[in-house]
């Protein structure tokens, strides 16, 4: 039986895998069911945010502070930012339109698909929350003992069965 020190040791690989894709750290360490549950929660927030606000709510240059939190979702956040840049900001998805600018300043063009007001606010918040929660998930993946779900202190362990 492993001692308490080894059970609570920090495994960086779990955290790295958890950042690569939400829940992957748990799945790789044998806690697949827990990883899938965590993945479901984080991805509901992430894709829910993109559905509400569009990819414009992940913007590395215009919303840099928000992006610090959103980037904790891993490569999918960077992919969403890239899609925003390639589809919306470049004008590929829809021709850019000119917006008001200060006198003497260069003209400003934006995509008509750019999110504003509540849609942008909630989309940004959803993806940000997904990133923050993924920090909890990947830290848990780093310290949770491998294949420990079946030997938890819950009912199943008391009953003598394994998950």
């Amino acid at each position: 039986m492993p001692d308490a020190a080894s059970e609570t040791s920090f495994r960086p690989l779990g955290a790295i895998l958890g950042w690569v894709f939400p829940g992957l750290g748990h799945i790789a360490s044998g806690n697949a069911k827990r990883g899938i549950m965590a993945m479901a929660g984080v991805l509901i927030l992430f894709f829910g945010g993109l559905l509400v606000g569009g990819v414009d709510c992940v913007d590395r240059t215009e919303d840099r502070l928000w992006f610090f939190g959103q980037a904790c979702c891993g490569p999918i956040a960077f992919a969403a930012d890239k899609v925003n840049e390639m589809q919306l900001k470049s004008g590929d998805a829809a021709p850019l339109i000119e917006t008001a600018s200060y006198p003497g300043q260069p003209k400003v063009f934006v995509s008509p698909f750019k999110g504003i007001a509540h849609a942008n606010e909630f989309g940004t918040l959803f993806v940000f929350l997904a990133g923050l929660l993924n920090i909890c998930v990947l830290l848990d993946a780093a310290v949770r003992p491998p294949s420990s779900d079946g030997r938890s202190s819950g009912r199943r362990a008391v009953d003598g069965g394994a998950a």
Partner: protein
């Protein structure tokens, strides 16, 4: 009328009118991820998620009611000067 909507590229239509309903999927997503980490026995996960979701919603509704009472009922009672 929504003639065309490209999901994930364009913001969802109608959000300006029902934005306050978004607290429900937000509470659900937060609860699902948090309880996946905190629940000891995974068999309890659905029940824990439901409970935490309802707790978040109750807290938000409570804050809304408190602010309503404060802003609409209490503050007008204060003297103007």
């Amino acid at each position: 009328m929504t003639l065309a909507w490209t999901p994930f590229l364009q913001p969802a239509p109608g959000v300006q009118h029902w934005w306050w309903m978004l607290v429900v999927p937000m509470a659900l997503g937060v609860s699902m991820a948090y309880k996946a980490v905190r629940t000891k026995d995974l068999a309890d996960w659905p029940r824990d998620v439901l409970r935490m979701t309802l707790q978040i919603l109750a807290a938000v509704v409570g804050i809304a009611l408190g602010l309503y009472v404060l802003v609409i009922l209490v503050l007008p009672l204060l003297p103007a000067e």
